[in-house]
């Protein structure tokens, strides 16, 4: 058997299995459980680093669940953004907990009673919302098992359309403006930048 024929041994055609959508359902549920458990563990550990990265793990599980719901792009972007955000947040968490040294073991909870009430209330509101909302039916066919199809992209497109609608153009114009603002902010804030060296009017002597 040559390498080529071995490599191209046809895979079992998963699209004919009726259970694939069931598997997807199981995957979404399991990932949801992982997200909740790791999210809860955030408050059980005694280290800022562990708390931060458990939260990251929780978000990664959410991203994977979103991928399992056919929103490949959104799911992978959730993973990307959350890993990045948590890596940066970890730095700030450790830095800002100076009164309560984050380099040492510390409790992750405070104001327990109020927190419990707030958490319970938001859980009830969200659950009731999920159960009462009339969910729309899928406009595009489920892309189960069709590896080469662009249906996943279609789902992402229709989600974006549903969320933004007519405002899509506005959002697309706003986002480069926001990026430019961030870049300008970093350039201005930079310690070794010319504004720092020459003053706000750029006329000062070199410091």
């Amino acid at each position: 058997m040559t390498l080529q024929s071995l490599l191209e041994t046809p895979l079992p055609d998963l699209s004919v299995l009726p259970s694939l959508s069931v598997l997807r359902g199981v995957a979404v549920t399991a990932l949801g459980v992982v997200a909740v458990v790791t999210g809860a563990l955030v408050f059980r550990v005694d280290s800022m680093a562990r708390a931060t990265y458990l939260l990251a793990a929780s978000f990664v599980a959410v991203g994977a669940a979103v991928v399992a719901l056919h929103l490949d792009y959104v799911g992978v972007v959730v993973v990307l953004m959350m890993l990045m955000e948590m890596a940066v947040m970890g730095v700030f968490m450790v830095m800002l907990m100076g009164m309560n040294p984050a380099l040492m073991p510390m409790s992750m909870v405070h104001s327990n009673r109020r927190a419990l009430v707030a958490a319970g209330a938001s859980f009830v509101v969200l659950t009731v919302g999920i159960l009462l909302v009339e969910w729309p039916t899928r406009a595009t066919a489920a892309p189960d098992g069709s590896a080469g199809s662009t249906e996943g992209g279609a789902t992402t497109y229709s989600l974006g359309d549903a969320l933004m609608g007519d405002h899509m153009l506005v959002m697309m114009v706003v986002s480069p403006v926001m990026l430019a603002t961030i870049v300008a902010g970093v350039v201005l804030a930079q310690a070794s930048g010319r504004y720092e060296r020459l003053g706000d009017d750029l006329k000062g002597a070199r410091r």
């Binding site: 490599l7 895979l11 890596a87 870049v183």
Partner: protein, 316 residues
């Protein structure tokens, strides 16, 4: 387009072997160049990775007081897995492990995972130099990540797809006139390569593990842990080079040789070039690199993206 075949999962073993051999190759090349620069025979330096592997495999793991062992294990394991996750979406000729519809974004997500891994490797041992190395990497990451993202966007935009196979196919198709994207996106390619040098945690653009911090994140790692991290960072360099092949270098297209061999040859050449270039660059402090990243690389990548957008609009 999209004429790549997704192969069965067990082939990941072949990918791991190829990645391991290539990682050994770039480390040997690096060792040989270093030995020659120090006036010793190059062959001694080339053997260094094998000697070091044998030494680390026998070395007992050294631990520090109050170390966060769990997070260190996550970091060390992650270093071994991350390069594999990257090459999983790279087509080897006509075969690919995961024909993901958003492969380009996937690669980007894994290179962000490196942030997490380096910081955790720095945090884990509960030691000053390690921690400093981890923080320095994040400061550096701020500088290279955004330009890297925009440089990844350019080929995807030109090909009109985030599927890595489609991007490769678009360069050999009639629409691409057979020109690899590196020809008309040289700026994006250079920015991308800068990103690869930065996230492979070695050399002047990666102060996380350099001599300025006494080894930084590597300072307290020993035994198998150290071996996996060293292998992982070599693997990241190779994976970065491998991903550039479908994105900028025309994938498996080329005369005479079959596609899969072209992918391997191009990957090896680019990885070797990166190793050579890496040795020529001066050390850059993270805050200085931030200025370079945000006031040179980022605008350059955005201008490149603008050019590509105009070409795409005019062509359609």
């Amino acid at each position: 387009m999209g004429d790549v075949v997704q192969v069965a999962a067990p082939w990941v073993l072949l990918a791991a072997v190829l990645l391991g051999v290539a990682a050994l190759g770039v480390t040997a090349l690096d060792g040989a160049l270093a030995a020659r620069a120090a006036g010793r025979p190059a062959s001694v330096g080339a053997q260094h990775p094998l000697v070091e592997t044998a030494r680390l495999l026998r070395q007992r793991r050294r631990t520090t007081v109050a170390a966060d062992t769990l997070l260190r294990h996550v970091a060390v394991g992650g270093f071994a897995v991350a390069p594999l996750l990257m090459v999983a979406v790279v087509p080897l000729g006509e075969w690919v492990l995961a024909d993901a519809s958003v492969g380009v974004v996937w690669f980007n997500a894994v290179d962000v995972l490196v942030w997490v891994l380096v910081w955790l490797a720095g945090w884990g041992p509960n030691a000053a130099w390690s921690l400093t190395g981890g923080y320095r990497f994040l400061a550096q990451a701020m500088a290279y990540e955004l330009p890297l993202m925009f440089s990844l966007t350019a080929p995807a935009l030109a090909a009109g797809s985030l599927r890595v196979g489609d991007v490769a196919a678009a360069q050999s198709g009639a629409a691409g006139a057979g020109l690899p994207y590196v020809v008309w996106m040289p700026v994006a390619f250079v920015v991308y390569c800068t990103g690869v040098l930065a996230f492979s945690v070695r050399g002047p653009l990666s102060p996380a593990g350099g001599p300025a911090t006494s080894g930084g994140v590597l300072a307290e790692l020993s035994g198998v842990d150290r071996l996996l991290v060293l292998a992982g960072r070599a693997g990241l360099l190779v994976a970065g080079a491998a991903f550039a092949v479908p994105l900028f270098l025309g994938g498996g297209s080329g005369p005479l040789l079959p596609g899969w061999l072209w992918v391997l040859v191009k990957t090896a050449l680019l990885a070797a070039a990166l190793v050579v270039v890496r040795r020529k660059l001066p050390d850059v402090r993270p805050d200085r690199f931030l200025a370079l990243g945000w006031s040179v690389l980022l605008p350059a990548a955005l201008l490149q993206l603008l050019l590509v957008s105009v070409v795409v609009v005019v062509r359609s």
